[in-house]
């Protein structure tokens, strides 16, 4: 793993990652995976896909909002997730494919989620 310059909370790795069916994740995400740590500030629990918005603190103390995309409600339910699995205020570390062109988005690997604190 290595750390992206200027973004201390983010680590990336060149690891093949399975993606989810039906949608073109390749348009929005690169094959490289990474992880971020941040605080959940908004939960979108719905279709077409569940999203979590994380406030991530950079090395210089500034913050930025990351859009963490998951899957549709059916897949989430089968994976045992509910609207209460991650809630506003939770501090988490999550991993997944990173956004194209350095965009602050991440395709969530459900098995990667760690709740901190």
């Amino acid at each position: 793993m290595k750390t992206l310059a200027g973004l201390g909370a983010i680590a990336v790795a060149v690891v093949a990652s399975p993606v989810l069916a039906h949608h073109a994740y390749d348009a929005n995400y690169i094959r490289e995976t990474g992880s971020i740590e941040g605080v959940v500030v908004e939960v979108f629990w719905g279709n077409p896909h569940v999203h979590y918005y994380l406030e991530v603190t950079n090395d210089d103390g500034s913050t930025m909002l990351w859009d963490v995309e998951s899957d549709n409600l059916g897949v989430m339910a089968r994976a045992g997730w509910t609207i209460e699995t991650l809630e506003v205020g939770d501090r988490v570390r999550v991993s997944g494919r990173l956004g194209r062109e350095g965009r602050s988005r991440l395709a969530l690997d459900l098995e990667s989620v760690e709740t901190l604190d």
Binding site: A16, P18, V19, L20, A21, H22, H23, A24, Y25, D26, A27, N28, F44, G46, N47, P48, H49, H51, Y53, L65, D67, E69, N72, L73, G74, V75, A77, R103, S104, R105
Partner: protein, 339 residues
């Protein structure tokens, strides 16, 4: 797009150099089975092998694939596809034809990726007397090969190149993705018999479709422009044949394979000996494709007590994401591409 370009390059350079003796034993339509490595589920598709003046031409799901070797009963070809988890794959399938079945190994960059096989598909018999079978119930999400490259016309290529899947994809706005695309999405379908029609309830986008048996297409069907079109069914023996016209202009996969309003979508639904549902699709759209696109999928019957969960959709994360990335103005500026 990378896979598309890679395969296009392979086709451009490799095909003219190949001088392949025709082997009529391979010619025909085959049900292709490829190990996908996803929950042990194989992916299914249609392999068509045709004799041409310069040798054999191979198509999977109606799109060209690169024949690498044909030597007696041995065959080897490349397959660009998307597996059941939407992971892009460029596989090499090597196999031997024996006792009417082709089977062998799948490799990717020299690494073993499992097995594959192909068995001949039965030819349709349009003269078979109707022998309807019970297709009602809930059919689970399909297993299929997502082919990546098709023979597009100039208009098809222009539509494909103009399409920006991060902005133009109707699903992003919770607008129906249409019959063809939702036919191979990871969702269930419930079939209800209503006498003169079958009612098909699609989990995806809560869409409803009616397949009529007692009428033809209405006047003005070419201007209907509806996401599910208008479907007319008939029985050929125990195979349900459905023809759909009046589809909305759009795309039938996420990367943007186009559909015109003149597209004709034909399905053949039949049960195999295990009670699994096979659906063969053919999508003829001369405006966009030089030859029909095909699909072959298999769905399993779900228990009677299964319930299809509701599917409500909210476009909030799409607009939220564009706002975060400063791309809202770019989106507003693409209204002429909106599907």
């Amino acid at each position: 797009m990378f896979i598309k370009r890679l395969v296009a390059l392979c086709l451009a350079y490799a095909l003219p150099a190949l001088s392949v003796a025709q082997d009529s034993a391979f010619v025909g339509d085959w049900l292709l089975w490829v190990e996908s490595g996803y929950e042990g589920r194989p992916a299914y598709g249609t392999l068509a092998i045709e004799a041409t003046d310069s040798g054999l031409a191979l198509y999977v799901e109606g799109g060209p694939v690169n024949l690498l070797e044909l030597d007696g009963t041995r065959i080897r070809f490349d397959l660009d596809w998307v597996d059941l988890r939407d992971a892009p794959r460029l596989s090499t399938l090597s196999g031997v034809l024996e006792n009417g079945v082709i089977q062998g190994e799948v490799t990717e960059d020299g690494a073993d990726r499992g097995a594959w096989r192909a068995a001949r598909l039965a030819a349709p018999n349009p003269d078979a007397p109707p022998m309807p079978v019970d297709l009602t119930g809930i059919w689970g999400e399909p297993d299929y090969i997502g082919k990546g490259v098709f023979d597009l016309t100039a208009a098809g290529r222009a539509a494909d190149e103009a399409y920006d899947e991060t902005l133009d994809d109707p699903i992003l706005r919770c607008v129906s993705d249409g019959l063809i695309r939702m036919s191979h999405g990871p969702f269930d379908i419930e079939v209800v018999d209503a006498g003169n029609r079958l009612i098909m309830l699609y989990q995806d986008m809560h869409e409803v479709r009616r397949v009529y048996f007692d009428r033809g297409f209405p006047d003005g069907i070419e201007r209907m422009n509806e996401s599910m079109g208008y479907s007319v069914g008939r029985w050929e023996g125990s195979t349900l044949v459905i023809e759909t016209r009046g589809l909305k202009k759009g795309v039938w996969d996420a990367p943007g394979m186009p559909i015109s309003t003149d597209a004709v979508f034909t399905e053949r639904w039949y049960l195999d000996d295990d009670g699994d549902l096979h659906i063969e699709f053919s999508m003829a759209d001369p405006e966009n494709y030089d030859r029909p696109a095909l699909m072959h999928q298999i769905r399993s019957k779900q228990p009677d007590d299964r319930e299809i969960p509701p599917y409500s959709c909210d476009p909030h994360p799409f607009y939220r994401g564009l706002d975060l990335e400063g791309r809202l103005d770019e989106y507003w500026g693409r209204s002429r591409y909106r599907l």
